[in-house]
Amino acid sequence: MTTSKASVPQLRRTRLQRWWPTFMVTLTLILVGLLLVLPLLVVLITAFRSGVGPYLQALQTPDTLSALRLSLLTVLIVVPLNTVFGVSAAWATAKFDFPGRSLLLTLIDLPLAVSPVISGLVYVLLFGRQGWLGPWLEANDLKIIFAPAGIILATTFVTFSYVARELIPVMQAQGKDDEEAALTLGASGWQTFTRVTLPNIRWALLYGVIMCNARALGEFGAVSVVSGKIRGLTNTLPLHVEILYNEYQTVAAFAVASLLALFALLTLGLKALIESRTGHSHP
């Protein structure tokens, strides 16, 4: 095993015992294997414990399909919302300086540190029948909690920061020169954004969207508080995993879980592709 940089001076070679890189690589593979690969294997092996037939069957039940639909609907709404927010927040905080900017940055991070249970609870306190807006919502026959709207809101809260967090440092590092150049060349604000800023941040943006998407698809704690768990109506895939598991349908539960793991792997694969395009790994 040699070090990856081509121009490594002789100094390093003589100093480091030959076994050191081998040792580090082995240790890393063991850690990754134990912490990450093994759990993934458990999901897959359990899902296919009874063979491919039952696996496919479990994925085709109406309840699973409806949970899949709701999960996809949630993602389709939440990800664009948080993406528009992320771009907007990154533009405001990275291209401008204004009083309270660092407080705003902390607030954008806040949902990351809030327990998922609390993320669900706040909406119950706000929109539940006992909540602040509950009576008004009921009077107008609007349903938020225990309906897809509540699930979408709770998921939005949980994945709130992901796109913004990706974009802000990248936009900050890029500075304002490109935008100013576009302005001096006569571009309008919108042209500057779409033709200069957006291409500059596209990989970070895509990465943020992917991570937001992954979390939105997988959120459990917050959603379980506001879902009502009505089979076929307010079940998302992660909730459906729990339900199947509680019904002693272990194979089906893990089959759905493996579907989610598959989405996760797909996401990670896409992410790796992005990194190979940009040529460096992403924070």
Partner: protein, 282 residues
């Protein structure tokens, strides 16, 4: 340079367009999605009055649950520091077979639903599980003990530490290390005095992010924790328990206590990182 001086300072009127629009939208969205709901939570807890709030928090059960949540998250985040350092170091410096795959896998805990993680880890580590059985043989109980919670939280927190370290390690390059070696430092001195200090801000930020994220973790923990009061009962579970006894204000009170801890951590991380970052630039 003059240009840097001028662009770094606030202008009275901004030439780049869109500040009002984007800042306005950002604040509106932040308020609707985050601030107003959190305000509702704080108001609910405030409804108890200061005495009532304190009475809801100041029970041995609540303290114990907060302690379990905090200590297990702390332990897991601490353990993640060396683990994350080894993985990040290896991925940036050595030729790892299947490097892209391994690198991509780091984000798995991010993307995998927490409930799936919880069920899977429990399956793996329970006394009759693949890992649990041999470990029990060796006298180590993992599932349904604080150790089980810590393992789940290590899983959840790992990406935060690795992802914080990776870019810094890439930027660091070999020069400072080689400079230290050329000045006669031993490899371990080089690591302790040159490399590690350069990584402090990243380690700190990864650590606090992992801590803030894991301290309130629920989905992956409830399955593996065993939920024994005073032993393995975590604070979010207590919130759920209070809710199920229709004690909204009590649940909100515990939630506010957790929120205060999380926000404090986040602020501490931000300011500490800013301080260390400044020192690092000088």
């Amino acid at each position: 340079m003059t240009s840097r001086l001028s662009s770094g300072r606030p202008a009275r009127r901004h030439i780049l367009p869109g500040l009002n629009l984007t800042l306005g939208y950002t604040l509106l969205y932040l308020s609707v999605i985050v601030l107003i709901p959190l305000a509702a939570l704080v108001l609910k807890a405030a409804g108890l009055g200061l005495d009532g709030f304190w009475a809801a928090i100041n029970t041995p059960r609540v303290w114990s649950a907060l302690r379990v949540s905090f200590l297990t998250a702390l332990a897991a985040s601490l353990v993640n520091l060396p683990i994350g350092l080894v993985i990040a170091w290896t991925l940036t410096r050595y030729r790892v077979p299947g490097r892209r795959l391994v690198d991509a896998l780091i984000d798995l805990p991010f993307a995998l639903p927490t409930a799936v993680a919880g069920i899977t880890l429990t399956t793996l580590l329970s006394p009759n599980g693949w890992l649990g059985a041999p470990l029990l043989e060796a006298g180590l109980r993992v599932a349904y003990t604080p150790l089980g919670i810590i393992v789940a939280l290590i899983f959840i927190g790992l990406p935060f530490v690795v992802r914080s370290l990776q870019p810094v390690l890439e930027d660091l390059g070999y020069e400072p290390e080689e400079a230290a070696l050329s000045l006669g430092a031993t490899p371990s001195q080089t690591f302790a005095r040159v490399i590690l200090p350069a990584l402090y801000p990243a380690l700190l930020s990864g650590f606090t992010l992992a801590l803030a994220r894991t301290i309130g973790e629920y989905g992956s923990v409830v399955f593996i924790s065993g939920n024994l009061p005073f032993k393995t009962e975590i604070a979010p579970l207590l919130i759920v328990g209070k809710l199920e006894q229709y004690d909204y204000a009590g649940a909100a009170a515990v939630a506010v206590a957790m929120l205060v801890i999380s926000v404090t951590l986040l602020l501490a991380a931000n300011s500490a990182q800013a301080r260390l970052g400044r020192r690092g630039q000088a």
